[in-house]
Each structure stands twice: as structure tokens, then as C-alpha cells.
């Protein structure tokens, strides 16, 4: 209540001063009061009521009709007061939701965390940036007992929280695959069954799964509707699409996936991406795969992690620092 008494004093002062000589100074006082009243949640109709009683005090001779008109104005302002209080409470709820989503994003981050394996034969770099708070992209590295390196990259069709939840399920399905079933085609076939049975029928997942054998340097891989990656061949200094065909996960229960193999030579590079990379839109249109290839080419001399970081920075700049889709890029480079 102390605030309200104080407010009345200030209001009386400012109003009397304004009625006396209409100075800018008095109007400015009015603005200050307006801010204070909002901070202290004084409703518009309360302000009018205060205005009326102060006006009666400072100009006792005023015509009754003007004073009566304030009663009318008060009624009119009541609706605004209600709207204002609703707004306040919504804002509060919104803040609560926001911090809950932040928490969820942290949980997701922890759940999906993966470590880039530290291996002698390969230089590996990876970057994944969500467009919103929670990502529908996912990448994961595993190393089995024979030191084979498994790499998965996946993108849930759909964005935001539902996509993120779905991704966590995939991660657990992958973790529970038997140790000896890491052949790319059978990984995809198992996951396809999981997704088909457990996910909303309009939600699908694209995925690429590869397995690198560090002894034979054979990279075997399979894909389920995933944006093709690139392959850089050092001996000929050429880049080509890492083509692999296969249906999205979760569409048909009995889908079989074809497995491909590639002999990786020293200096060769495997580049994997999510469609956020090629679906990037700039003011001039889409980023073509050729442009992306050129970006990679310009950075060939760098380490794998530096390459992916640089490319992300370049693409982000082209889109004026606004991501429309989650973005993931992985590079595996066989050491020379």
C-alpha cells in the first residue's frame, strides 16, 4: 500500500503542475508514473479512479459532467485492465515453458552425446547445430571390439520437440543392437522395424550408416532415404556423390537395404551430411551441391574438424546467420 500512497502524491504533483502551465516536464513525469504503475501492476481503471479523486481535490470547482465522464471511462478501461492482467500471466507461463524447453534441450544433449573416436588411421570432424532449441538431427560414433568405427547420421522428418523425442528413441534402439550386428544394412533393417512400429505414421527418419574397417580400410555403408554424402578421392583429386539408395525408415516394414563398399586410400575423404546442409536457402535461392563441393575443396588442406567448422561458418553467413533447418556435417579423412 505504501507504493499506492506514494503514487497518489506523485500523481497529484505532476497533474497539478501540468494543469498550471502545461510543461513538457510534467508530461515526462506522467510517463514515469505510467512505467511505475505497470511495474506494480496497477490497472488502468485504478489510475482513472485516482485521477478523478485528485482532480476533485485540486480543482474543486470543476463541472460535475466532466467528473461523471471519468466513471464512464473507468468502465471502458476495465476490459483493458483484464487483458493486461491476462497478458502478464501468459508471459509468466511462457517464461516457465521456455525454461522447461531449455532443460529438455540439455537432457537431449546429454542423451545423444557421442564422442568422436580417437583413432590413428583417421582424422574425424563433426558439427551439428539445431535450427531451434532441440535438434531433429543426430549423429553417433561407435567403436566395436574389432576397432571398427561405426558412424550414423540421421534426420527426423519433422522439426522441434517431437522430432527430438523421436531421435532419442533411435539412439536407444541403436545402443541395444547386438554387438555382432553392426553391418550397415542390418542396422538399418532393425531400426526400420523399430520406427515402423513405434513412431507416428507421418513421422519418418532418414539415415546413413557406415562402418569403417581400420585394417582393410574398407568402408561399408547403407542409406535409408538420406541425402547422399560426398567422396573425395585424393589420387585423382576428384569429388563424387556417395550414392546409396534405400527407402526412408518407418514407411514399409519389410524394407531391405543394399550395402555398398568402398576401398579408402590414404588422403581420401568421406563427407556425410544432413539435408539441412543442401536445403539451405539464401536470398539467391538454394545452395547447390556443387557450391558445397567447392567449399569443401577450398578447405581440403585443413584438418577434418576445421573443415566442418569453416563450412558451417560459410553457410551460416550465406543465410545471414539464420538456420532454417538443423545442420549436421561429418568428415572422415584417412590419414596419409
Amino acid at each position: 500500500m505504501e507504493f499506492k500512497d506514494n503514487l497518489e502524491g506523485k500523481y497529484r504533483e505532476a497533474l497539478s503542475s501540468f494543469l498550471k502551465d502545461q510543461t513538457e516536464q510534467a508530461l515526462y513525469q506522467g510517463q514515469k508514473i505510467s512505467r511505475k504503475t505497470m511495474e506494480n501492476r496497477v490497472s488502468p481503471e485504478e489510475i482513472i479512479s485516482m485521477h478523478k479523486s485528485i482532480l476533485m481535490e485540486v480543482c474543486p470547482g470543476d463541472p460535475q459532467k466532466i467528473l461523471d465522464s471519468f466513471d464512464f471511462l473507468m468502465e471502458v478501461m476495465m476490459g483493458y485492465g483484464i487483458a493486461y492482467r491476462e497478458h502478464q500471466s501468459l508471459r509468466h507461463q511462457q517464461q516457465e515453458l521456455k525454461s522447461e524447453i531449455e532443460l529438455a534441450a540439455n537432457v537431449q544433449h546429454t542423451l545423444l552425446e557421442t564422442k568422436i573416436p580417437d583413432v590413428k588411421v583417421m582424422d574425424i570432424g563433426a558439427i551439428s547445430v539445431p535450427a531451434r532449441q532441440m535438434s531433429g538431427d543426430y549423429y553417433h560414433f561407435v567403436q566395436d571390439e574389432n576397432q571398427n568405427i561405426g558412424v550414423a547420421i540421421a534426420d527426423v522428418i519433422g522439426k522441434g520437440i517431437p522430432a527430438a523425442l523421436c531421435m532419442s528413441m533411435i539412439k536407444y534402439a541403436m545402443d541395444s543392437l547386438p554387438e555382432n550386428r553392426h553391418a550397415p544394412s542390418s542396422v538399418l533393417e532393425s531400426l526400420n522395424r523399430v520406427v515402423e512400429q513405434n513412431v507416428d505414421p507421418s513421422m519418418f527418419i532418414t539415415m546413413f550408416y557406415g562402418l569403417y574397417n581400420p585394417d582393410s580400410h574398407v568402408f561399408s555403408y547403407a542409406a535409408a532415404g538420406h541425402e547422399p554424402g560426398f567422396y573425395y578421392e585424393a589420387s585423382t583429386d576428384t569429388m563424387s556423390d556417395l550414392d546409396a539408395k534405400g527407402l526412408l525408415l518407418g514407411v514399409e516394414k519389410k524394407t531391405r537395404y543394399r550395402q555398398y563398399e568402398k576401398q579408402v586410400e590414404p588422403g581420401d575423404m568421406i563427407i556425410l551430411l544432413s539435408d539441412g546442409v543442401t536445403e539451405c536457402r539464401t536470398s539467391e535461392g538454394f545452395i547447390e551441391r556443387e557450391t558445397l563441393m567447392q567449399f569443401i575443396r577450398n578447405n581440403l588442406h585443413l584438418g577434418a574438424q576445421e573443415i566442418v567448422n569453416n563450412i558451417f561458418k560459410q553457410l551460416e553467413k550465406m543465410q545471414h546467420f539464420e538456420l532454417r533447418d538443423d545442420f549436421t556435417l561429418i568428415i572422415l579423412k584417412r590419414d596419409v
Binding site: 519433422g158 522439426k159 532418414t206 527407402l247 514407411v251 536445403e279 536457402r281 533447418d325
Partner: protein
């Protein structure tokens, strides 16, 4: 961020013309207007995408959902008027092998 959806539904033959962009913001609208129609028995649904300027993977999700729903009701589902970019999206995802699609050059609705 705009989309217009024109639907002609005559005796379970549904002809749809979509114009504009299909992305995370417009996809729910597309889903809501077409899903109920896909649930008619023996429905024949043709969606013309000639005037779709952009579609991301969310749009793809809508069409796969529609395709499955139509199939579950013993119907036929067809997409026509796909631009080269859209065609590529269906090729990559392997959907071109299971959904009946026709590109620009192969003609659209009359």
C-alpha cells in the same frame, strides 16, 4: 510462407492443386485439408504440385502419410507436376519407388 490448396472432390475422385511453399509452417494446413479425404474407401487422389515453389522434408512427411492412408483404404494415390528439385527429393528418399509420381514434363491435371 503462403500456401493455397484447391480441392475438387467428386465421387471419391479427389483432385488437389497446391500452390506456394510446403514447409513446417504450411504442412499442418495441407495435412488437415487432405487427410480426411484420404480416408474414403477406394479413393483416387491426385495431387498436382506444378506450382509448388518449395518443399522441405516436412512436406514429404505429409505425402507419405497420405499415401499410406489412401493405400490402407484401398485407394490410389498419385503426385503429378513435380519439378526437378522435388523429383530429386522423392528419388533420394526412395519414395519414388513406391509412390506413383510424374514430373512436369509428363503432364499435369487438365
Amino acid at each position: 510462407m503462403n500456401i493455397t490448396i484447391d480441392v475438387k472432390d467428386i465421387n471419391s475422385t479427389v483432385e488437389v492443386q497446391v500452390k506456394g511453399e510446403i514447409d513446417a509452417y504450411t504442412a499442418p494446413k495441407l495435412r488437415e485439408s487432405l487427410f480426411p479425404l484420404s480416408e474414403q474407401a477406394n479413393v483416387s487422389m491426385v495431387v498436382d504440385l506444378t506450382e509448388v515453389s518449395y518443399m522441405d522434408s516436412t512436406g514429404l512427411g505429409v505425402f507419405v502419410g497420405l499415401f499410406k492412408s489412401v493405400r490402407a483404404h484401398n485407394g490410389e494415390f498419385k503426385l503429378i507436376g513435380l519439378s526437378e528439385r522435388l523429383r530429386r527429393l522423392f528419388d533420394i528418399t526412395g519414395l519414388a519407388d513406391i509412390i506413383d509420381i510424374k514430373s512436369h514434363a509428363e503432364g499435369g491435371l487438365e
